[in-house]
């Protein structure tokens, strides 16, 4: 908060958080909570049914593994399994995050025009570029950070839930926790946030542009326009006049401007090519080096530049759209 510019950005982002606390904070918290609750209910149901039928559902055949020292191989497998649990919670929450960010961007420059509170914001000495930028930061940095924290906490909660459930069976599984790699998981998740912000640029740019431009129904414009263009292209291709590849359009244009706000959507088929099978390698796809591999493709950077151009358009409309 040293320089005025940073201070301004801090308060602008804070304003977004105040306004969208429901989507940014409560949506991931509730998702995580519901996820934990469902698992708890599942475990209890398993215990009750198991007790009724005299059976053990959980780790029945492997339970002996837990009692003695694990071999290096088993330890790695147990660690990977626990890492997977931690990722899985983040995965669920990141789907929710995708929806939140999508609709946040779509409304960010539209809602205040509709309810005319734009006139209040515009009465303050804030530049339109800073305003639009603060919405990008709120959507693709602040929201993912909060979602990640919720994801990790939920993941840890899941592990504790399992360990406690096991300890009811007299199995001390606490020592297993040391085989998990929480720091690596967190580092991988934190590391993907800059990747996410860059990858999502075409979507944030397009959605914010629609949000700043549409006189009504920004969702329809944002979604229907690219779909209609795609169908026209398909139609032309059907007639034999090949303008541009339909497949390229759907994947690299339409998909990127609408769906890039979903974290992990950069994981294409290419990411799995070098990954051999087996649980201990499945997670490699999530490793930062692997994820950042997408940055070596030109389409990643073309998308980012196109996203910046769309953002510039959004700023222009924010400045001159005169309908409040």
């Amino acid at each position: 908060m040293k320089t005025p510019v940073l201070n301004e950005m801090y308060w602008l982002v804070k304003r977004e958080f105040w306004e969208h606390r429901g989507g940014f904070l409560w949506a991931p918290v509730i998702t995580g909570g519901v996820f934990l609750l469902l698992n708890l209910m599942g475990i209890i149901a398993g215990e009750v049914i198991g007790a009724q039928h005299g059976m053990h559902f959980m780790f029945n055949d492997q339970i002996h593994l837990l009692d003695h020292t694990l071999s290096a191989d088993d330890a790695a497998r147990a660690g990977a399994l626990m890492d997977m649990v931690m990722y899985s919670t983040s995965f669920i929450i990141s789907i929710v995050l995708g929806f939140v960010v999508f609709f946040y961007c779509l409304g960010a420059l539209y809602d205040d025009r509709r309810d005319r509170s734009l006139l209040f914001w515009k009465s303050l000495p804030l530049s339109d570029s800073a305003t639009v930028l603060s919405k990008v930061v709120a959507g693709t940095v602040l929201a993912p950070v909060i979602a990640m924290i919720c994801g990790v906490i939920t993941g840890i909660g899941m592990l504790l839930l399992f360990v406690i459930a096991l300890s009811f069976h007299g199995v001390g599984a606490w020592h297993l926790l040391v085989y998990a790699h929480p720091f690596r998981v967190v580092a991988n998740l934190v590391g993907t946030i800059p990747l996410y912000a860059l990858w999502a640029l075409p979507s944030t740019g397009w959605l914010l542009l629609c949000s700043a431009w549409a006189r009504s129904k920004p969702f329809l414009w944002a979604a229907v326009l690219p779909l209609a263009v795609g169908m026209m292209l398909g139609w032309f291709n059907l007639l034999g006049t090949r303008v541009v590849g339909s497949g390229w359009y759907w994947g690299d244009v339409c998909g990127r401007i609408l769906l890039s706000v979903f974290p992990g959507s950069w994981l294409g088929a290419g990411n799995y090519q070098n990954v051999s099978s087996g649980t201990e390698h499945a997670l490699d796809a999530l490793n930062l080096g692997n994820a950042y591999g997408v940055m070596t493709t030109p389409s990643f950077w073309i998308g980012a530049v196109a996203g910046l151009a769309l953002l510039a358009g959004a700023i222009w409309f924010r400045r001159w759209r005169d309908d409040a």
């Binding site: 509170s117 209040f120 009465s123 303050l124 000495p125 005169d322």
Partner: protein, 285 residues
């Protein structure tokens, strides 16, 4: 002295109609200017041009800045309440004060809190829980705590009850206005502002049709109540307007000879609303 607002040949066309049609005017510092006009006359467009919210043709300088190009700098010294109750519905009193305090370099937090203390607003209250009058109280508290050189008010009291309306203008006069500040206000409730205005501007079809300070208005315009016997004589002096009350005629004159008017009957200063109605005759016809 430098004009706070200097406009020459402002024009702005929307699809079918001219909202501003070569309007030229100057507003000096330390004035309270009433910009009065019928619906669709171009008041709001003129204010939007001053605030840099819309594009236009012509030349306009506000505090020496071009509102189209230097809006960010301009808004540090200009404040506005555009229409009633435009505060975002989700914001809390505390958040609004925090936000403005941290983003506006000329905001005085203590002042704002003192204004708020006079109202029933509580820090955790959200705008959506407030009545229209309370929203305006909050907005006014925020705006009056900003040491701006120009305050623009566009229909600031529309839809408020008379208690809030009186309080609004009273606060502005007592706690805000001084010789370094300038206020431009548009309103249809002319009777309520006519006693605080120093200058009057009538706008019609995008043109400024009257631009005078209140003293000049009093000298230039006169209202005379004339008996039926002298009515014909009065009509020869080309009154702006004539209306009948209790069998007598009231004539409104623009720049007529005082001595001749006195011979006709009792001279009064016309109210701004009568003047407005006379000037705007036939606008909607």
């Amino acid at each position: 002295m430098n004009a706070v607002v200097a406009a020459s040949n402002l024009s702005k066309r929307y699809k079918n109609a001219a909202a501003l049609d070569n309007a030229s005017f100057r507003i000096e510092a330390g004035r309270i200017v009433g910009l009065i006009g019928p619906n669709g006359a171009g008041k709001t467009t003129a204010l939007k041009a001053i605030l840099g919210l819309t594009d236009f043709q012509g030349e306009l300088s506000v505090l020496g800045l071009d509102p189209r190009k230097q809006r960010g700098k301009l808004m540090e010294q200009v404040c506005f309440i555009a229409d009633v109750a435009v505060l975002p519905r989700w914001i809390r009193v505390r958040e609004a004060v925090d936000f403005v305090a941290n983003t506006h370099p000329r905001f005085d937090r203590k002042k704002c809190e003192a204004f708020l203390a006079r109202t029933k607003l509580t820090p955790n209250q959200r705008v959506k829980q407030m009545s229209k009058g309370m929203i305006v109280q909050l907005h006014l508290a925020l705006v009056m705590a900003i040491d701006a050189r120009l305050l623009v008010l566009d229909e600031p009291t529309l839809g408020l009850d008379i208690l809030y309306r009186k309080q609004f203008y009273q606060s502005l006069l007592e706690d805000y206005f001084d010789e370094n500040k300038t206020i431009i206000v548009t309103t249809h409730q002319v009777e309520e502002v006519e006693h605080i205005l120093t200058d009057l501007m009538f706008i019609r079809d995008g043109r400024i049709v009257l631009d005078a300070d209140m003293d000049a208005v009093g000298e230039r315009f006169a209202e005379v109540m004339v008996g039926a016997d002298k009515a014909a004589e009065a009509r020869q002096l080309k009154p702006l307007d004539e209306r009948q009350v209790f069998g007598k005629s009231i004539f409104l004159f623009d720049g007529a000879d005082r001595a001749r008017l006195e011979a006709l009957g009792e001279i009064r200063r016309p109210s701004v609303s009568d003047l407005f109605v006379a000037t705007m005759k036939g606008t909607y016809a």
